[in-house]
């Protein structure tokens, strides 16, 4: 049996999704003793990202819900007479209607194994790296740590993450790094050649693509499985608004140093049966060939108005109560512009109110130009990285982590109706002042009156982008408005291989909508419109040009429970010091999760404490040598912090040592949009101000 966990904590958190991870980091940061556990053997719950084989085993798990072993009721002895117990759920019911389709040949696929696949041995994982594992090996906090294969940390750390000195930059403050070469390449290369040899150029480029096509390896199921580790498939598909609350939180808390991002490169829309790029920044509008001069002006004028619409109440107050789509009709915008604004920029439904539409447009525009030509960022290696980053921050400040560990029940004091302790899956009683739990862990009794909504999801692996362009490395978002009234609006996110979420020559496509029926019923019409199943027969190259639709190699549909927007009072018999975090919502941004924990939970828990203050820089950390307790803390040994500080310094040193110009300037280019370093005051609509001297100096002298 495992060595026991400490028996006393300030906060016990069950579930490692984004809201739970944020609150764990926030509590740990202000010195609370945090125990953070998850019944799964991976981080993130429904916010997780999986390699291809990881996803297959996740599917397997849901298909055959394992018969859970009878748990001993020995814990009953741990309760005294003044206490009663509140049982938790033992079975995850958040995922339904799973359907998998494979369009590539699966012959002789039985023994294919992912290269370097994880041993899927579920283990208790203390968060951290091998140093941590070694340290704890001497004085293990719980015995299971021994079963932790070194590859067990694969979920959270990517070995090839940070090693290439040419493409990544460490700055004085290690921050989130961002690659943004793609967009600039696109803009410069998409401009038509001005000389008269235009014809030659065209010919050349087609020859080139043909050559590339033939060089492209044929995709089979076995190649997908073999290179399964190149995939990082998100269960929930989201982007980060560049000026959204999650980015602000990442920067403010310094958690950003654990993640890297890529700029979303295109905003697309589906209109008249065609996929089109939406011009949304000033540069896009200027360069757009699809808009007339007057349309350019009308679009820019409307967008400029939306930026500070609150100040111009006279422009919209007569339409406050009508739909945004109706309001747009009054603004002298052509139907095509109305479509762009409603579906691709505001991304609201036909029935959304004018105020909601204006607010959404404003949010979009404010995020524009902070890090690139679109308002969105996507974390490299998938959205599942983000909860893990917060967990890491929590661990750095002393939080204790246990995966595949759960809580059987809460111990509630009859008199005060407060949760005094929890009894974990090993029957240990752990005292705590607060208990934070993700909705899916609550028992059916507790959730009797709760009415859940559903999210419909589809994941596709395809062979090409929905909209061809000069670069094959595009990260796009496409909003498909409902074809018939009452149907859901479908958000399509297409990721390329440089986001580190899919293998070369494939695209990973996520479809999301609010469920009306099952995921397949909701999403298949859109899938059919945009894609076609992979055809085994080779297509003649002449036909290839006409063949515009991407082909699907593999597809997955499922429904996920949407537990957002539930009033606390809907839960029955919840002790007052128990807080519920909801699972993912169907919207594009992460505003709900951040708001829930920062404005609601944290405020109630610790009204006088700052929420996620910036973590100090390694060089500012002073170790209190007299503090012998530090040694006993075990999990957050000072050696770990030192190792981190050293790692940060090392990378700074590396950057400083670079002597020749080329690589260094290469770095500078990447370093520009370092989160938290770039000044916030970028002007409206992507208009780029000339950078101040200081700023450039900072950038140049990393």
């Amino acid at each position: 049996m495992a060595e026991k966990l400490p028996s006393e904590f300030d906060v016990v958190i069950l579930g490692t999704g984004l809201p739970e991870a944020i609150i764990a980091a926030a509590c740990s940061r202000i010195g609370q003793r945090v125990l953070h556990i998850d019944v799964k053997n991976y981080y993130g719950g429904n916010w997780a990202s999986f390699t291809f084989s990881g996803l297959l085993s996740w599917l397997e798990e849901y298909k055959q819900q394992p018969n859970l072993p009878e748990e001993s009721t020995a814990w009953k002895d741990l309760l005294d007479k003044s206490e009663e117990c509140l049982l938790l759920n033992r079975k995850d019911k958040t995922i339904q209607n799973i359907e998998v389709f494979c369009y590539v040949s699966q012959d002789s696929e039985n023994n294919i194994e992912e290269v370097g696949a994880l041993r899927k041995n579920p283990a208790f994982v203390t968060y951290g790296d091998s140093t941590d594992a070694q340290d704890s090996a001497e004085e293990p906090p719980c015995q299971e740590i021994h079963s932790l294969d070194t590859s067990g940390s694969e979920i959270s750390s990517h070995p090839n993450n940070n090693t290439d000195p040419d493409t990544t930059v460490e700055t004085g403050v290690p921050d989130v790094k961002l690659e943004m070469q793609t967009q600039s390449d696109v803009t410069s290369s998409s401009t038509p050649p001005l000389d008269t040899s235009e014809g030659d150029n065209v010919k050349l480029s087609t020859e080139e693509t043909l050559a590339q096509k033939s060089a492209k390896r044929k995709i089979t199921y076995s190649s997908i499985v073999k290179e399964g580790r190149k995939f990082n498939i998100d269960l929930v598909s989201k982007f980060l608004y560049s000026r959204g609350s999650l980015i602000d939180l990442l920067i403010k808390s310094n958690v950003s140093r654990y993640a890297e991002f890529k700029n979303v490169t295109r905003i697309l829309t589906f209109q008249n049966g065609k996929v089109e790029q939406v011009p949304c920044s000033r540069a896009d509008v200027f360069a757009s060939k699809q808009l007339t001069m007057v349309e350019k002006r009308m679009l820019m004028k409307f967008l400029t108005f939306c930026l500070d619409y609150e100040q111009k109440a006279e422009e919209y107050q007569d339409y406050k109560d009508c739909a945004f789509s109706e309001y747009l009709k009054t603004k002298k915008l052509t139907p095509s512009l109305q479509h762009f604004i409603l579906h691709a920029i505001a991304m609201v439904s036909e029935t959304a109110s004018t105020i909601d539409g204006l607010r959404a447009t404003q949010h979009f525009l404010q995020s524009l130009g902070r890090y690139g030509n679109t308002p969105f960022l996507f974390p490299l290696y998938g959205l599942g990285e983000i909860p893990q980053c917060f967990c890491r921050m929590c661990a750095v400040f002393g939080g204790i982590y246990c995966l595949r560990h759960s809580v059987q029940c809460l111990v509630v004091d009859k008199e005060s109706s407060r949760c005094k302790a929890v009894i974990d899956s090993l029957g240990q009683r752990i005292t705590c002042s607060y208990f934070i739990v993700e909705d899916s862990y609550l028992s059916e009794e507790t959730c009797n009156n709760v009415c859940y909504r559903q999210i419909s999801r589809a994941v596709l692996i395809t062979d090409r982008s929905v909209l061809k362009s000069d670069s094959d490395q595009q990260v796009s978002i496409l909003t498909v408005p409902p074809m018939e009234l009452g149907e859901p609006t479908v958000s399509v996110i297409e990721l390329c291989s440089s986001t580190m979420t899919c293998k070369r020559d494939t695209y990973l496509v996520h479809l999301t909508c609010v469920s009306a029926r099952t995921a397949k019923e909701d999403l298949e019409p859109v899938v059919q419109k945009l894609f076609m199943p992979y055809a085994e027969t080779e297509i003649e190259s002449e036909q290839e040009n006409e063949l515009e639709k991407p082909q699907i190699f593999w597809a997955l549909y499922f429904n996920m429970r949407d537990s957002t927007g539930i009033d606390r009072s809907s839960y029955e018999g919840l002790p007052s010091n128990v807080y519920v975090c909801s699972g993912p919502d169907p919207h594009l941004g992460n505003e709900h999760a951040v708001k829930q924990v920062s404005r609601v939970h944290f405020n109630q828990l610790f009204p006088k404490e700052e929420f996620c203050p910036p973590a100090p820089n390694p060089e500012d950390i002073v170790y209190d040598v007299d503090d012998t307790q530090l040694q006993d803390a075990g999990f957050t040994s000072s050696s770990e912090i030192k190792a981190e500080a050293a790692a940060a310094e090392q990378s700074v040193g590396k950057a400083l040592m670079a002597e020749t110009l080329q690589p260094k300037l290469g770095k500078v280019k990447m370093a520009r949009p370092v989160l938290g370093k770039v000044k916030m005051a970028r002007p409206m609509l992507g208009k780029v101000e000339s950078k101040s001297k200081d700023q450039i100096c900072t950038l140049l002298s990393t």
């Binding site: 401009t191 001005l194 000033r282 001069m293 001297k693």
Partner: protein, 566 residues
């Protein structure tokens, strides 16, 4: 005690540590600087000095003296070292310069030194330099130091203008608020697509494409002026060469004047401007109409006494500017008091863009799209101004009324610049009046009640005898008015004139009316003393009339003027 709690240094501690660090740095800096200057004094041009200057310049790249010193060292080394060694030395210098430019990408000294090094280097790597420019401009597309350096690199390495044009296109596509890129286009396009007829301009086909590009920009963001200014360049006229537009000779005054299309300078003693009388050179001394030692439209000379004999049936005067770059002749017949030869403003269309018939359709098209934009953006001043300019280029008289309406709107939307718009409006109105006068073949110009705030184009009024400036907002009769050597009667009532500088040495001026102006002191009338024929002067309603001894003082100042009405 919370376990794992991290202590952070207090800010006071940090401040103290920073202060100490700064002090240490300062000491080091001054010590090194002193050492360098000592070495310079003793002419120790060795490796160590290079190292020391390196350190200082790394911290402060704007220390020009040290860059000079480094150049001295390099020149000295060139005498002793082989080409290979120098190449290595200079390569190191370039990488040092890069670090300096990172400290301050706008350091004059660093960029200048880089040019110098590359010119001295045995084998400069220009493509690398171009790449450096690309990187720096990516970080700050408006760094004009880097733009200058880029042009230097392009010139030395013979990068084609086409490539450079494509580069500007890329930058403009990213962000069109980029004067440097637009400006560079205006320099490159005439090289790539020169108009055979018009020097410094581009062919019409290219012009149309560029107009569309500029239009795309100002329809996207009409308040961004960079594209508007480029648009203005596109519509601009050819720079005309200097020509002589008028030659005038007066028999009884024994003087001759030469009017130029541009202000020019005639230096005393030079033979820039030569006068021939009946084929023989005449030694004269030239002075400007304003009697100033600067450039002027009009140059005068006194003819030698007796050079105009009454016996000859005619005299031919010929002037030659800069060895024939411009010339003009006029003939004075017997019995005539004066004679002139003059280009007409209407024939030359000097107030309009020089455009062919096809180009006028281009202008018409531009006017239509600007009007379309103006409907969407009624308060955009750049659009309004461009409409006015286009209308002037197309038909100044036909659009006069509309133009004045647009000026009214312009002043309302941009009151900060209303004075500028008033002046511009005055200019256009004067141009129109001059045109009307020319069409009427008259020597009388009526400019009353036009709301003029200032006077323009005096060089076009050389022959005017009567001028009416009454009821305007003129503050002064400027020096340039002294060009109107034929002026006999000037009416300038009901203005706010304070100064009369321009009414000097006007040989024919007889009557001046300055009722209801703001002339304060007797001394302000001083210039009139130099007008020999002045006989009537109206001064009613000026502050100076309130002074008790006004009549006697005036008699003292202007004894030759019989009628001074106060």
């Amino acid at each position: 005690m919370q376990h794992g709690r991290i202590k952070v240094k207090t800010t006071e501690e940090q401040q103290e540590a920073k202060r100490k660090e700064r002090e240490k740095k300062l000491q080091l800096y001054t010590a090194t600087t002193t050492a360098i200057f000592q070495k310079r004094q003793s002419q120790e041009l060795d490796q160590e000095v290079l190292e020391l200057t390196n350190q200082i310049l790394g911290a402060n790249p704007d220390f020009a003296t040290l860059w000079n010193f480094r150049r001295e060292i390099f020149l000295h080394s060139e005498k002793e070292k082989s080409e290979d060694e120098m190449q290595k030395l200079y390569t190191r210098e370039l990488s040092h310069l890069e670090s300096c430019l990172r400290v301050n990408p706008k350091s004059y000294g660093s960029w200048h030194h880089r040019c110098w090094v590359l010119d001295r280097m045995p084998e400069p790597d220009w493509s690398r330099e171009l790449e450096l420019c690309n990187r720096f401009l990516e970080l700050d597309e408006r760094n004009f130091h880097c733009w200058d350096y880029r042009r230097f690199v392009v010139l030395r390495s013979e990068v084609s203008a086409e490539e450079e044009l494509a580069f500007t296109h890329g930058l403009i596509a990213k962000n069109f608020s980029n004067y440097s890129s637009w400006h560079y286009r205006s320099k490159l396009l005439p090289q790539i697509h020169p108009d055979p007829q018009r020097q410094g301009r581009v062919t019409e086909e290219v012009l149309l494409k560029e107009l569309e590009l500029a239009q795309n920009a100002f329809f996207t963001d009409p308040s961004d002026q960079s594209a508007w200014l480029y648009h203005r360049w596109l519509l601009g006229r050819v720079d005309r060469e200097v020509s002589i537009i008028c030659i005038f000779v007066s028999r009884d005054g024994e003087w001759l004047s030469v009017g130029f299309s541009h202000p020019v300078s005639v230096h005393p003693g030079s033979d820039d401007l030569l006068l021939f009388l009946d084929g023989a050179p005449l030694m004269v001394s030239w002075r400007s109409a304003e009697r100033r030692n600067s450039s002027s439209f009009l140059w005068l000379c006194d003819l030698p006494t007796g050079s105009l004999g009454d016996l000859c049936p005619q005299h031919t005067f010929r002037v030659l500017w800069k060895e024939g770059a411009a010339k003009k002749e006029c003939v004075l017949y017997r019995g005539h008091q004066e004679s002139w030869n003059r280009d007409s403003a209407t024939e030359e269309q000097i107030f309009r863009c020089e455009l062919s018939v096809e180009k006028s359709t281009v202008l018409q098209h531009e006017l239509e799209s600007c009007k379309e934009l103006q409907e969407l953006e009624p308060e955009n001043k750049w659009c309004l101004l461009t409409i006015i300019l286009l209308m002037r280029a197309l038909d100044p008289l036909g659009y006069e009324k509309e133009t004045l309406g647009y000026f009214q709107t312009l002043k309302a939307v941009d009151p900060m610049r209303s004075a500028y718009f008033n002046d511009l409006r005055s200019k256009f109105l004067m141009e129109n009046c001059i045109l009307k006068m020319e069409y009427a073949e008259s020597r009388v110009i009526v400019l009353s009640c036009k709301g003029l705030t200032t006077l323009y184009h005096e060089e076009q009024l050389l022959l005017v005898t009567h001028m009416n400036l009454s009821t305007n907002q003129l503050r002064a009769l400027p020096r340039a008015l002294a060009m109107l050597r034929c002026l006999e009667v000037l009416e300038a009532d009901d203005n706010i004139i304070e100064s009369l500088e321009g009414l000097s040495h006007l040989p024919k001026l007889e009557e001046v009316s300055l009722r209801n102006n703001c002339i304060r002191g007797i001394s302000d009338l001083q210039p009139l003393a130099s007008c020999p024929r002045l006989s009537v002067l109206h001064l009613q309603g000026n502050p100076l009339c309130d002074s008790p001894n006004v009549q006697s003082e005036l008699a003292l100042l202007l004894p030759h003027v019989p009628d001074i009405i106060t």
